[in-house]
Symmetry: none
Subunit: 245 residues, 4 copies
Amino acid sequence: MRLTEVKTQRAFEAISSQITERIRRGDLRAGDRLPNERELAQAFAVSRHAVREALRSMESVGLLHLRKGATGGVFVSGGRPEAVAEAMRGMFYVGGISLAELTEARLEIETAVLRLVCGRLDEAGLALLEDNVAAAERATEAGDNGAKVTLNIRFHELLATLTGNTVLVVVMKALLDILREFAQRVGPVTEMDVIASRRRLLRHLRAGRQDSAVAELVRSLRAVHRHYLGALKGRGAAAPGMPGP
Amino acid sequence: MRLTEVKTQRAFEAISSQITERIRRGDLRAGDRLPNERELAQAFAVSRHAVREALRSMESVGLLHLRKGATGGVFVSGGRPEAVAEAMRGMFYVGGISLAELTEARLEIETAVLRLVCGRLDEAGLALLEDNVAAAERATEAGDNGAKVTLNIRFHELLATLTGNTVLVVVMKALLDILREFAQRVGPVTEMDVIASRRRLLRHLRAGRQDSAVAELVRSLRAVHRHYLGALKGRGAAAPGMPGP
Amino acid sequence: MRLTEVKTQRAFEAISSQITERIRRGDLRAGDRLPNERELAQAFAVSRHAVREALRSMESVGLLHLRKGATGGVFVSGGRPEAVAEAMRGMFYVGGISLAELTEARLEIETAVLRLVCGRLDEAGLALLEDNVAAAERATEAGDNGAKVTLNIRFHELLATLTGNTVLVVVMKALLDILREFAQRVGPVTEMDVIASRRRLLRHLRAGRQDSAVAELVRSLRAVHRHYLGALKGRGAAAPGMPGP
Amino acid sequence: MRLTEVKTQRAFEAISSQITERIRRGDLRAGDRLPNERELAQAFAVSRHAVREALRSMESVGLLHLRKGATGGVFVSGGRPEAVAEAMRGMFYVGGISLAELTEARLEIETAVLRLVCGRLDEAGLALLEDNVAAAERATEAGDNGAKVTLNIRFHELLATLTGNTVLVVVMKALLDILREFAQRVGPVTEMDVIASRRRLLRHLRAGRQDSAVAELVRSLRAVHRHYLGALKGRGAAAPGMPGP
DNA sequence: GTGGTCTAGACCACT
DNA sequence: GTGGTCTAGACCACT
């Protein structure tokens, strides 16, 4: 007799996979409301507690959304891009992703992003980028490092957004999310003029010179990443783990 | 008057952010064991239940791992790449990511992957790829469609792995994870000979012809993606939501 | 591992601390009008109910004042000294403050008050005190015990007021507020002539004999307090808790 | 016909005064549990909202305590000394209490406190004070200003505690609570050696020289208060309102 | 011994 | 009125 390994599924897992499957099949769509906790507990013949653990874990991966109050309840989420970022962050904290890998991946993906953008950029998109650079310049002159970092990261997010591709946006945001902490602690890159580089990049974009634009971006990112890696090494420790506050 | 939105923090969120922060700072590292649930509840001055919800959500994003039994306990995870895939999948199910975006992003990222690989490929890597293609060929001849799909997807994962960059591996796996379901249901691409295309790709790689390799990959992926998109359209509905089982 | 107690903030607390902070910083001053409840609810992104609870608790500690009607609204209070008295009363009812502690503290603080007053008393102030004593004498002769008690307590408040120091006024009022209940129920002190003692006190004050004035006050207060404590003991029970109506 | 002004009592006030009255009479004592919200609403024939507002305001003045969970409910509080401090703070923020009044009142009350302590101080109490001064000295040497401020304030609280009189403790804490913010922002007093002054004070206490002890305390407090008042004036604005963060 | 599950009951929040 | 959040304490299942 062939016996298959028994895999005890925890109660909450059985619940969450059942709900997930219904979402996957399209029976449940974004915005749909599930029965309340008490009813779910009854339907699954488990305690409310087990239901809550299941809902909680589905909430944390962005499939559900729990809302309190009279109009509250359990809803199928409309997507939670931060869930991807959080999971990626976990990989960085404990999963053996090094800063070097992170920056390399970012360089490759952002290069691809920029190539896509070149073919789709219109006047409105260019204006957004130019506004960002102008604001970053003002922040730099005002010595407002916090605003400067935020605006610089925003520039890269903008590029991703201009591809019109949500997947690339989500992935880029996840990577930038982790790099943001470095940027804020490591302080400004001194060996190059970021604003001037951005200006050159925008000129290339406006003129449709894709290869020059990519080259400019690569040069700039390489400098920034060298800066991060140097700072990390300077601290000696902590290949895994981020610099403390 | 400037008033900011009130954000009440739930107990389990306060707990998980406190633990996450200690992981981020490097105080807790992969493999470390946390106090048990009862002790955590006492330390945080909350119920065990609140602790469990926090642990559960951290487990689902891949930061912790819970193990039952006498030698069990709560451990800092060594990374859970599937967490990224799950979160991405959530975005696809409910978050408005279309198949078109998914395939476009995949094309761009895999192209970048291939370029990286070209510069680093050694004999061992090439052998792995060739073995994969050989096995896929046998599966095709044997008419074993399941094995064929698995091996084809494995080919793309192999490419990512050969970059040596975990971030790219994780991202590619997340994308392939979603595409796998399509591949299995849509059936084999008929308008092209995948095995032949792979062979050409490997020849280019072996000869160091990066641009030709990329061109071959792009051509192949475009065909596959057209195939998926066509199948989806054929079904009429369900831009969001996957075809049922 | 160092873990700190989790403190979840309730919605109404988040609201009240945000408004309190703006008052503390001086952004909001006495008399200023806040947006109405509906607007506040919108600004904080909570229900009107949560806003009301926050406003209510701030009203009860004397930071806000809610006024009904067409010209009504939520206003920053100009101070509510009774709030201190109420909180102190709470400590007496349930917080383990004994009558003995209360009377001791009162003796010490009122002594300090009298010393301050000695240095600042002018003719107008003396006249106020003398008027009070005269009125108390008339009430005593008329056998109007209620008026007598009120006027006697008023005498002590007057002393505090004559320091010109609001803090001392508020603290003294808080203590007298609690003692008033005793005075009204315990009935008049019989072992001494309060009016005569007051007259001596005023003569010392007029003559600038600070130490004699203080001695007279102390003697008088001690007698009264003995009276209270004796009455309480007579009832047997209720160190905490007040004698019933 | 004599008509008395109509005073519409709001629903929540009627509720809270009814409960307060029962506490005052001793029917309800610290630790007692009240019926739950729904039952109270029914008993008072009002909405649960009105009940909640009443409970909330009684919680903020320290008469009740609300606890969540299975063993939760509405309980008569065992006293909340911070309620007095909060109310006093409100008076300072908006009620026209000036820093000058605050420091004067503190000087008077703490002087009275010290006099009381002189008559009751035992070896254990002296040891507590000496330990505090020693710790403050270490913090000063280590340049840890935060710890220094905390320890210095703690010294004054200790003095109050050593009177054994809860009223004085509560009042002193209320005053110190407001002064703490100044101490932290204004920075250390430079014109005098606080530690040396404390040492002299303790020597006087140990030797039973009450007047010298008081004189030393007064001198020290005057210097500190001058420091605060000078800093406030330096800022130009904000007699009401505290210096911003 | 530790995570997993369960129960009953209460506050918290929203409309 | 409805539903989410939290609590205390118990037993079960696994190693």
